[in-house]
Symmetry: C2
């Protein structure tokens, strides 16, 4: 399977609870950097750093609105991430029976 | 949404192409640490480190077989990761139209 290098960065972007929280928040509507700072207990620079990582993989887009920078969910639909996980799950399901036998053979769980 | 802290570590485990490669390889059958080292161009310690990260989130299980340590796909079915991404995709789909209008308003892409 070949995937663009962004798959690494996408999974990395999702590995942080604050970044997942920001995405969940933006799912309810746009927010400025300042509006994101308080609920997450972050400094403006802290928000900018997380938003930058999300923006880098198109999970967020930002635009200057007056003196503030507004953040929205970006165009990334996470298709690659979903595809990879689904492919893995298919393989994994196929091996589940063999894994059961393996555990028995090894006497694990006793 | 509440998820166990392993969601962070699971996404992190998937953020590395070598670790995804190891999972794909183990999807075709068990392999020892030594058997994983060569195709990935890693030292034994390099493989152990990656396998340790995968083992930590139950994506891999290992067992001593004779003098070798054999690796297999573990019990983690990535349900939490799938659930999170699916929930995100639902939200994202719902906001796609509004995002379109937003791009027009901002005159982005001109």
């Amino acid at each position: 399977m070949h995937y663009p290098a962004t798959l690494d960065r996408t999974f990395f972007a999702l590995s942080d609870p604050t970044r997942r929280g920001i995405l969940e928040r933006l799912g309810r509507g746009p927010a400025t950097i300042g509006e994101l700072a308080e609920p997450f207990g972050l400094t403006l620079n802290g928000v900018k750093k997380h938003v930058g990582i999300l923006e880098d993989v198109d999970l967020v887009v930002t635009a200057k609105v007056g003196r503030a920078r507004e953040c929205q969910l970006g165009p990334a639909g996470l298709e690659d991430a979903t595809d990879w996980i689904e492919e893995y799950r298919r393989t994994w399901q196929g091996r589940l029976d063999r894994f059961g036998s393996y555990v028995e053979e090894q006497g694990a769980g006793r």
